[in-house]
């Protein structure tokens, strides 16, 4: 790619810009390679920008999770299974958060096994809806789908603005949304189960 662009530069210095069919071809070739040069620039900025931080962060959190041991959160799952209004926030905010943080996508959904059948769809809905809002601060939870957040965040960075505010708000609004989603889905599930039995 570099050789090609050097060649063009030399051509510009020594002779006039080619015209006619060859000229059109040359312009087309330049435009063609320009797409990939720009793409390469973007790739390099991504690899140099967020990738090193991501690797170190992922390593640290992976080690932390291994030292704590995923089995420690099972008690939380049992607590979340209890009926009663005070356990709603545990079931649809705390449990999805901890499950997605510790077990990550997709193993987080295995925490549903501690819940009664009628809560399972709502818990899945709640947990799966949190695998992106968590990415702004804890990208280890779902690195394969990072660009849901990073895609938009890149635009903010280009404007020279900080990402902290957006990441925190994304996480907090995410928690509110998964809570509502859990409640709504639990209600719909209950209605559908009742209808099926009737």
């Amino acid at each position: 790619m570099n050789l090609l662009s050097v060649g063009y530069r030399l051509a510009e210095v020594t002779v006039d810009k080619p015209t006619g069919i060859l000229g059109a071809l040359a312009t087309a070739a330049e435009d063609f390679i320009k797409v990939f040069n720009k793409g390469g620039e973007v790739l390099l900025s991504l690899m140099g920008g967020i990738l090193p931080t991501l690797v170190v962060l992922l390593t640290a959190v992976n080690a932390l999770v291994r030292i704590i041991g995923p089995e420690k959160i099972e008690n939380l799952g049992k607590a979340a299974a209890r009926p009663g209004i005070q356990w709603y926030p545990v079931r649809y905010i705390v449990l999805p958060f901890v499950a997605v943080f510790v077990l990550t996508n997709p193993m987080a959904y295995t925490m549903g096994r501690f819940l009664p059948e009628r809560y399972k769809p709502a818990f899945y809905d709640s947990a799966v809806s949190f695998v992106h809002p968590i990415l702004g601060i804890f990208p280890h939870a779902n690195p394969g789908e990072l660009f849901v957040y990073v895609g938009i965040a890149t635009g903010i960075t280009q404007l020279g603005l900080g990402l902290g505010d957006l990441a925190v708000r994304y996480l907090l609004v995410g928690l509110v949304v998964i809570f509502i989603r859990g409640i709504v889905t639990e209600w719909i599930t209950a209605r559908m189960m009742a209808k099926k039995e009737a």
Partner: protein
């Protein structure tokens, strides 16, 4: 002597355990990054290159600008993504959400979409999250087949309500976000 060597063995073992854990964590990380992160970066870089150097960007900008920089427009996007027929199709790998997110990011970077719309946009492009994965996710939670039968439509219908609702919440939560940039 027996006491000392027992202590030494214990120390050696626990240090070895910690180092082993850290090393394994690093190995897992590099594995994930090479398998999942870098391939997507390469793909996204190509798309961004294409958008920035060709006229496609301007074409998309005119299409997106109206819908992505107003609350009703974002609501419309979220409603379409949340349609029970479409949402399982749009879900897999969050590929659609990632591409649309990148497109919006480019337009935000160019100033075509105000920065404070980043937050509601994050929710508008994503009401279909996990809609393709409901039976598998429920199976991971050891759900009965009867629960899966009810759970799939329950989640899909729930999204129709909570998808647009999440955009509204995010819209109000974005007040004061990057407001100095205007």
């Amino acid at each position: 002597m027996g006491g000392i060597s027992a202590v030494l063995t214990k120390i050696g073992r626990s240090v070895g355990g910690v180092v082993g854990t850290l090393y394994q964590a690093g190995r897992d990380t590099v594995d994930t990054v090479i398998r999942n992160v870098i391939p997507f970066m390469a793909f996204i870089s190509f798309i961004i290159g294409l958008i920035l150097t060709t006229g496609i960007g301007d074409w998309i900008a005119t299409g997106i600008k109206g819908s992505a920089s107003s609350l009703p427009g974002l609501l419309l996007i979220s409603l379409v993504c949340a349609l029970p027929v479409l949402s399982p199709l749009l879900g897999p790998g969050a590929v659609i959400a990632q591409i649309v997110g990148t497109l919006l990011g480019v337009e935000i970077g160019k100033g075509n979409i105000p920065a404070q719309y980043a937050l509601p946009a994050l929710f508008a492009i994503n009401p279909q999250v996990g809609c393709d994965f409901i039976p598998v996710g429920l199976a991971l939670g050891e759900a009965e087949p009867e629960t899966v039968e009810v759970g799939v439509p329950a989640v899909l219908f729930s999204r129709l309500v909570t998808g647009p609702l999440s955009v509204v919440i995010a819209y109000f939560a974005s007040f004061g976000l990057y407001s100095s940039s205007n």
